[in-house]
Symmetry: D3
Subunit: 257 residues, 6 copies
């Protein structure tokens, strides 16, 4: 069960509103790397994760992300609170759709659940979360880099910080399962090709710990092992009963040149 | 520059075609965790990653994923090569849209680039890739679990294996940067709240390495630190010049009860 | 700031799990008329609604909807908790993507923010909410009609009830502004065509309070009042400087028959 | 059966074309609140509404909306008819995709049917329509507020007016069923929680006709009534026959700290 | 300006309703190759096509497609008019969303304007239309092949026929411009590589009029002509003023193995 | 099986980078008419096309399109390689999401597979391809028209040229089947309405080879042939067992005025 207090989890104080910057902020409200993605991803995982301790962690962080979504929304509300005619040209989105946040990204694309990665296995879920935190942190850095308002920057800096905290929590949880640096998980072990690495893009070829002994066996000049595939057989070739509709002679497929 | 040989990178031999299972396989052709997502994600990253060695790794793996996409496509083509009237009810997708693969998932939703996570920083990219590999591996396990054809299973097992290989490569690359177990990256250090963990979902509260000393400071009963937010100021409240259109008296906002 | 307690706002007790019915339930978790739509719609409105009292109402209801989303998620989790091989054919979505809820609808389409209607004006927002509640109530009735588990039905009945409560609250709020039965709002009064009704679909023409005196003036045989529109002028017709690329003679647009 | 006359239902005369304003106008051609949404929503409802009189009303209005879509399209065609090099920067959409209207909104997002609300019950449909009209009216006001061309403004003013007319028609139709101010409809009555209102967002709590006696019973400090939910049971835990693929020992889920 | 008569352009008489077949029919109501796509594509083209004669043709066909959309909608309405409990399992879409047509395809995906191809040039538009007609015809054939109701089949046969008629009209219009068999159009002639054909997929290489003399020059073993591309330069490398936020030392990008 | 060489198929040399123009270029990387659409469309067709010769052609062209996608990506990478503070306002997409290409169009909308047209029949596929090439060529012309960098223009000119080559190849292949100027294909012949053309949009009516004798029979004043459609029968009208939930009296549908 959810509860809400109208006070914010951390302060939001915009000094100089900028509707244009408000548009950029949508990236973290209704964008792919934003707080809604994080909140819903961690929370939906909590419904299928069996381990009660991990579930508690996911729910703690999800609820914090909802409060961060609220902070980003308040930032946007403040940045769009003093729009005038000039803003039409720099932030038409708010002039046409109304001030305040919307579940759109900075390009006006609707948030959608394809941004979320989850399902089937807690290791997979936690890896998805480390990725989500990295994306969120990256966007906060980009926003700070183009931000000119100190109050806004301070809030964004806090939000960036918390993504690092959460990433650390997810890493520690994965490490506690031995899965931070072990690629394998689940119920099916790999087959005997697991150490092979194929040099499929040639030129500026490089070697490093990701494709070298002892963990990997590098195939310099890989060749197809699968032979020619079976040709397609058109499933519509059969003679359908056509219910009173005369069936055409099939056209010759080609006049050879 | 790309080249293609019509032989497959690994064999694909379906014993008993099943159009229904063909529908399930779409998940890895045109679905969120599928080979197209992997191929395009790693490849698009290679355009902005500065480090030539990591770029080479991304391109090697991306090109392999294109060849895996081809294998999944061939699996689907074979599973839909002998559809009969019964298939209409168990796999209408192929009856209506034609046999063979399509860039749809098992639910008939179009593949879209919202599945891709990339941009801005190589550490973020590599974390996204470890997540992508985990999702792909998970779906291959799910497919194997419901697969009844040995030939198909063998191919899926190989594809599952390669996801583990790639995950291992990405982990080794991240480790070589010291970023596999360090949550921080990029140019902005965290602020002083980075160790705080908030107990925001109460009940069955659990403690573990992800929210305990020495890495974290646990706040048992967090309180709002942000105070009441500023109220919204409607940007449309101003008196617009209305170009000949009479402006209404603003309606009283409410008859108090 | 959000808080969460792990106890549910109302009980969820599934008697006989059915993964197929779990699929249907997704309609109210990640579907157009579902609880996520309601929660996010009312909450995002609260950022731009100026009236503190209406804002409080919107937030109270939004937070309840988050708790309802949790209930629907728990229903789905219970319905998918005992899937066996048979479920592959009746609920492949969960077999492939994992048990528990996902932000998809019953057809496997991702939730997206195009389902949300909000922005610019509190009257518009409240009308959108009455519509949203009607859609949610309708889907709950449809689910109850095809549900065979008494425990599930009881929960769905409660959720249906709450949509009626919320609709009533939104109606009372609109009525308090005099806007429940007055079509006009905002700052621009209508022009003098506001009473005209056009009979544009002929056959079985009907008259009723929606197109009759005294509120309306019915035009039996409407005629175009706008004349012929201006023809398009191709903006690409101009002679562009083409930077070294020879410009073709424009092809004759047609050999007249 | 549809018929079309090339004359417009009402005049469209743009004085000073502006490709930038043409971009804004897309909001009502291919946007969420635009004429396509209205036309298709009312028309698709007419296929399932049983009451022939309401069906006639829906079809009359739908056909008018198609004619309004045509008017908006003509506005856009005129606003994009004289684009020059300068327009690349203010309206690249038309420079790249061609002049004239497209089924995109002002942000370049494709129109999609998720904007439509309909189905299952005429009361639900009519409430959806009142909401749709409110959204359309709101966007027309926003467009008029940023419009500098008198001819365009006159057309937009007419279109805004008609949304009020249609809203009035839908309200009168709902009132004729006794459903304009009665939240209940359909075949299932509410349970006994229908009068409860929960104070779930605390701070600036307000009371009004929407949460007060006699229609409502206000719960100041709501508590969870649902107890702890059942924990998830992983459906993948069963021992699958794995068809020749060795099953791994399940990894220990965690090394306790 | 649009007009509508409630009689259908051609008869629709379903003998034996099947909600499952109703689901399939959605493909031509709200699906990619359906009548809505055709109607809107041709109609939106008419706004930018300069040639009044072609514009008239586009509008004539568009209006017919709206009437065909109505026929498909009526087919669906009849097929879903007698749903019983059995229908839940074979056509849950209608049970949950209501009977009658919706702007969804047979897989439950929302219609969206990405299905439409148009813009910028009449030759491009007409080629898009020949493609659209081919897609529509193909789906009608697929539907007829799985249809068991004679009345439905007769209607589908008529609709299939009309797609051939329209394709023929578009072909004749293109031929009248000399553009049915001439690949070039627009204002920029090709460069001198226009006759080259590259053998980039090797194995089962074939020659035919599409890659042979005199129209083409076949390159058996193509080589890269573009050299190594410039490496990416990270645009975020610059030293941003960071507004009070301390800038981290950039982490070493890698510990060499 | 795919192979990649890091050299480009043709040179890419941007003289003066412009992040704004980089945004426009996204149209051909992640946009509807772009190289990804072409590459994936032709390649996915190759899985179901039975004719080995046509399949070889499709694969040859698909692989070239992947190399073109790479060229467009490199153009974008170069145009975004020197972004400074000024670019935030002209190309925020890259500032927020990172430099280099993304699978988005110039408006920031995700690429999605709804752009692809394929399936069921080789004639349909080839017509779809001629359409795709026309769209791609049109966008390249639009890009050249607004491009100010000679190096970029040269590359775009080559890419435009190749679309003409491919269109020519597809035309020659269709002609070899006798299907370039014959609207019919597939297994079902048209019914006897195939020559009728309906004058459904009146005003500025035109005649030409597309609606005139001998190929067509023009119906000047078409009338409905289908009679009044059957009224909808609400499938929810039946009396459902309601599992303990009392069924309401159905509300009177209307108080007649």
């Amino acid at each position: 069960m959810f509860f809400h207090r109208k006070e914010l989890i951390q302060p939001v104080n915009v000094g100089t509103p900028s509707a244009l910057f408000g548009t950029f902020l949508l990236e973290q409200f209704g964008g792919a790397t934003g707080e809604l993605t994080a909140a819903l991803q961690y929370w939906v995982q909590s419904f299928h994760v069996e381990d009660a301790e991990i579930r508690d962690m996911l729910q703690d962080i999800a609820v914090e992300e909802f409060s961060h979504l609220e902070m980003v929304g308040k930032l946007i509300a403040q940045h769009t609170s003093k729009m005038d005619q000039a803003s039409v040209f720099e932030a038409p989105l708010f002039k046409l759709k109304g001030g305040g946040p919307h579940f759109l990204d900075s390009q006006g694309s609707c948030w959608n659940a394809a941004y979320i990665q989850e399902g089937g296995n807690v290791v997979r879920d936690l890896r998805a979360n480390i990725s989500a935190e990295a994306g969120a942190r990256q966007t906060y850095e980009a926003l700070i880099n183009v931000c000119e308002d100190e109050g806004t920057k301070k809030t964004l800096h806090h939000l960036l910080t918390r993504e690092i905290t959460h990433a650390n929590m997810f890493m520690k949880a994965l490490a506690s399962m031995g899965k931070l640096d072990d690629p394998m998980f689940g119920n099916i072990p790999p087959d005997d090709t697991v150490k092979l690495v194929f040099n499929l893009s040639t030129g500026e070829d490089a070697r490093g710990p990701w494709n070298d002994k002892p963990d990997f066996e590098y195939i310099e000049n890989p060749e197809p092992q699968g032979g020619m595939p079976m040709p397609p057989i058109n499933p519509d070739d059969e003679h359908h009963a056509s219910g009173g509709i005369a069936v055409m002679e099939k056209p010759k497929t080609r006049k050879k040149g």
